[in-house]
Symmetry: C2
Subunit: 523 residues, 2 copies
């Protein structure tokens, strides 16, 4: 219970860059601030958002309205002041569908330039799709499939093959745009809904390449899509408070669309999970997503919380750092996520890597000695590695209960690239790395059959390795496992005093027996 100041020194600001990215969106304007060391690490450090509804009226008149433009300029002026106050000179601002479709776009962009000093780059539909794709490929494991990005003005669809973008297009099917053009009243008439569906189907009909085949996934982006996912999670009483990586079933989207269809806007706003300022456009959003999944024959999509803003950032982040990839992307998103989170919480790298080394050595030796290969799948090995790397990050919060803090930090980090089930297994193994019998508790709902046994095995190997490096000095260099009576004998290989390690590990052989059904003797 002792608490006080840490010895953590102040950040060296000298080598850090800050970039503000401003998304002049069709529904809302958003400014994010990224603080980073190019090619090495980055962190979101500020965010401001304002609903502007720039696209309102563009469908009918082909122009940005006088009111929307005035509001937009006010917000951009504020953003300029904000950047100035924060000392940020590197500003990346982009405009998307609403401005692209408007005939008075040039006037609008020069006015912003003139009145706020901010130069806004107008993205083409293909560019908008590309930056969404960049965000997806750097924060999910998407290799083959599609990225759909639902904005206020447009919908971008990108086909991805071997992590590369192959086909992309932009349709004016954004949530504000379709609401305005097709569902002007709430609740709408049946005819209005049918007309919107017909319109979407006509737009999608030409896309022969937008069809799911084996091994493909759909990744979905955009605020209105996240809003749907949040509602779906609430309706299922979902166990995790995390959107990124969530599998949103097409059936849920269908169900929510049906619910919204008969509600007025105030009634929608009261739905659990609904963002009030998206209540009016939520039905159109649900219908667009539903029709996309239907067209693609997809039973679900994976939610990606990142989008165009992060895509623009990744381009800047990797730029000039000799990344061998074009498009700029992490070689291995899952590994990058783990290392990033570990560094974010100042992990003791030597200890964490040594625990991983000893754990995986036990895993690999058992895989040879044991007969049940189902217990030694590569996925279990990878999750064990991640848990070893992250087991102590909770010490960043406090030594006391640091196992519980690690669990909290991992669940909240989301670990982009891992599924929620995998995230839960990693977090739970760290939670029990010191003591206790693993109990998945409230997040058990995201686990699958056999995962409780898997968690017990992961915890057992992590805990033994942790104890074998109890004094964090790597004294136990290697471990050697061999059959011994009806169980195993674990010998430590070391040139140093290993009494602390052996004594500590001996106190935790019970969990090995519980996990693998055999006694363990440590010498």
């Amino acid at each position: 219970m002792l608490k006080s100041l840490t010895a953590r020194p102040q950040t060296t600001q000298s080598n850090l860059q800050k970039t503000a990215i401003i998304d002049v969106g069709s529904n809302s304007f958003r400014l994010i601030v990224m603080t980073y060391l190019r090619g090495y690490h980055f962190q979101l450090t500020d965010e401001v958002r304002e609903t502007v509804r720039l696209v309102q009226g563009v469908g009918a008149t082909g122009k940005l309205s006088r009111e929307a433009m005035a509001h937009a300029v006010d917000v951009m002026r504020l953003y300029a002041s904000f950047c100035k106050a924060l000392g940020i000179e590197d500003i990346v601002a982009v405009a998307t569908s609403a401005v692209r479709e408007a005939t008075n776009r040039t006037e609008f962009l020069s006015r912003i330039q003139r009145e706020t000093g901010i130069t806004v780059r107008l993205l083409s539909g293909e560019e908008e799709a590309y930056y969404g794709y960049l965000a997806a490929v750097n924060s999910t494991t998407l290799s083959d499939g599609f990225v759909i990005d639902l904005g206020g003005g447009s919908l971008e669809i990108t086909r991805v093959e071997g992590r590369q973008p192959r086909e992309a297009l932009s349709l004016t099917l954004g949530a504000v745009r379709t609401t305005e053009d097709w569902l002007p009243s709430a609740p709408p008439t049946k005819e209005q809904v049918a007309a919107l569906r017909k319109h979407i189907r006509e737009q999608l009909a030409a896309l022969k390449w937008f069809k799911l085949k084996g091994g493909m996934q759909v990744v979905g982006q955009g605020g209105s899509l996240r809003n749907l996912a949040r509602i779906a999670q609430k309706q299922r009483n979902y166990a995790l408070d995390e959107l990124h990586g969530y599998t949103l079933p097409a059936a849920d989207v269908r169900k929510i669309a049906k619910q919204l269809e008969v509600l007025s806007v105030p009634e929608r706003a009261r739905l659990n999970g609904m963002k009030p300022d998206r209540a009016d456009i939520a039905l159109a959003a649900a219908i667009v997503v539903e029709e996309c999944l239907r067209h693609a024959d997809a039973e679900s999509l994976i939610v990606c919380s990142q989008g165009v803003r992060e895509g623009l950032f990744y381009e800047r982040f990797f730029n000039g750092n000799g990344t061998p990839h074009n498009p700029p992307m992490f070689e291995n998103v899952r590994e990058a996520s783990v290392i990033n989170v570990a560094h974010l919480y100042n992990f003791q790298e030597r200890h964490a890597r040594h625990v991983a080394h000893l754990s995986l050595s036990l895993f690999d030796q058992l895989a040879v000695l044991e007969t049940d290969s189902a217990r030694f799948e590569p996925i279990e090995r990878e999750l064990l590695w991640a848990a070893c790397m992250l087991h102590d990050i909770g010490m960043n919060i406090d030594y006391n209960d640091h196992h519980r803090h690690s669990y909290y930090l991992i669940l909240n980090s989301g670990l982009p690239g891992f599924t929620h089930r995998e995230l839960a297994l990693i977090a739970l193994a760290t939670k029990y790395h010191r003591k206790g019998v693993p109990n998945s508790g409230e997040i058990g709902a995201v686990l699958q059959t056999g995962d409780e046994a898997r968690l017990l095995r992961m915890t057992a190997l992590l805990r033994l390795a942790e104890q074998l490096d109890r004094s964090r000095d790597g004294a136990v260099r290697e471990v050697q496992l061999q059959p011994h009576e009806d169980g195993y004998l674990l010998e430590t290989i070391s040139e140093e005093d290993t009494s602390v390690a052996v004594w500590s590990a001996q106190l935790h052989t019970d969990i090995f027996r519980a996990a693998y059904g055999k006694p363990l003797v440590i010498v």
Copy 2:
């Protein structure tokens, strides 16, 4: 949802000291490692514990048993290896009651010295009481009253007046010792229990000074006492997971003693909250605590999770730093706690202090302008200050949801010196400092009548001040409040561009109206 490595640099190890403190206790041995900058900040960074039961047999034979000594030497050898592996040369080791009472103490201590190289200092009963007191006075607001420290071998009682120790003594009423001497079987007979109670009362009878008067508190320490408190919390379904600062009612101790009296050790071990290795001594512990509170006419005690180890540490921590206090203590425990936790999580000091300045300025101006003085009590001002100082510490975890992370960190920090109710109010105000209507949720149970309204007022002023320093540059230097129509007009005083501040704050005037019942206009 963006996540990556931070820019946080590695700790400067050069100016940090590490001290290992080893408590050769009568029930268990414990080693803690403190990492600190003398007089400035400190943190617990490691802990090892082993139940040795050194006192076993001392009552009957007057000697430490051969087995207990052998076990003790093994554990001390391990602790020596542990310190060596961690590179810790500064080791403070103390022995208490069990060794003090044993006739073969000299032989025992020289054997430890000879076989492990560790010099163990034998504390007298008064010294043991003093270090417990030091821990209490540095982690609670105890000014007048008593500290009781229940160990395995002895019970220390200290009378405190004006934060100074006035009277102290040590009785051989430790939990292991009394179990062995008076309750050898479990469940015990009624006669055995009665005999133990009679013995305790005889021991306490002479302590005329151990009587509670107005304004006095009893602070309780020791593992067995914490164990009782944990059981009491579980039985009440207590809302917080925090022992330090918990008010343990005498009635609960009585009830638990009654429950334990009829149970065998395995049955006790299954009680919710019971530490299995304390199940055998829990009844004696409950009876000793119950009799102490009865003798002192106390209806409850405040649990203090710190004890002799931390007391020894504080002596070292303050030593040589010109502290004006003797005994060495924080001038203001509550303020020190807040500052310590803020530094622990790398708070942005300038921003936090400016938000506190603006918040308290609004508070003080309202106190003059408003008529209901109950809304402007000094305690509310102090809690508001703490919430302002800590509102952003969750950014240490992640920018996203940092309000929720601040709440988590504050609740887990425990903020020594604040009551659990105050802790909850501070944590809740930070949780809602960005948006939403404060909802005390599951921890609402620790609040009192009127606290929901108080929380709303605190949140309103914190949120307005936060928005007025939205760009974290202190552009709004001061605020000036004046009556305006049926509400107030807030003017910002600044030499700089305050458009971001005014725009941001204007979005949050609703909560002011909800809290104070009057509209607010910001210019």
